[in-house]
């Protein structure tokens, strides 16, 4: 089989659900929605200090696409800081493929519905699975 275009791979989702500013009353301001891929782009470029070429390759997307995602991430963070807004993280939204996992052993791609707690491959039962996020 030919390889399909890799989705925007996020190595690990952020380890938090959101950030909250303190010292201000934030009830009435809208939160900023930071997408997983934006978090990933920001992390790769500004935390892991990778160049865009490398980072885009890692996420399986083109350099211009990476640049766009990265730019959007920075703008969102700036907005959150300046306007003292909450940051909430979420999966990329426009895609059906969200919540898809891949088994690194048998290459099955699969969903894990909320009624299943086991984090294993439904075909070969491997624990070596990763989140595919677009």
């Amino acid at each position: 089989m030919a390889r399909r275009i890799s989705p925007r791979k996020v190595v690990a989702p952020p380890s938090f659900i959101g950030f909250k500013p303190y010292g201000v009353i934030t009830e009435n301001t809208d939160s900023v929605e930071l997408l997983y891929e934006e978090y990933e782009a920001l992390k790769l470029a500004d935390y892991d200090i990778m160049n865009h070429q490398e980072a885009s390759k890692l996420m399986g997307i083109s350099r211009p696409t990476f640049a766009r995602i990265y730019e959007s991430a920075r703008r969102k963070i700036a907005l959150a800081l300046v306007e003292a807004r909450e940051i909430k993280t979420s999966y990329g939204n426009a895609w059906m493929e969200k919540n898809w996992f891949v088994c690194n052993d048998c290459l099955a791609r699969f969903t894990i519905p909320k009624n299943i707690t086991a984090r294993t491959c439904p075909v070969c039962h491997s624990f070596n699975i990763a989140l595919l996020n677009v």
Partner: protein, 106 residues
Amino acid sequence: MSKTVITSSGNTLTSKFDKRFGRAEFFCLLDEATGQTSFIANEFKDANHGAGTKAAEFMVEQQVNKIISGDFGPKAKELLEKFDVQMVILQEELTIQAIVDRISKK
């Protein structure tokens, strides 16, 4: 109790895995607990429209937990997601037996 469906191109275990979902020839029903299998012909495979949706409807009605196929159309995906049916996509050319073996090997 886990009810699994594998889309199949024929009605025996030696049949090839069918990568289509809505237009698969047969559905192989596998009880993962006992390893028992049975085959049902897909009555919607030649439907002019909406075979995927109809197949998804059938799966939910049959209380299937897991479906192994080659691809799912967007509408089928939406329905299966909504009713917590696990979708599994395999791209290999396999027989039904090979997939059953892989699942049974703990």
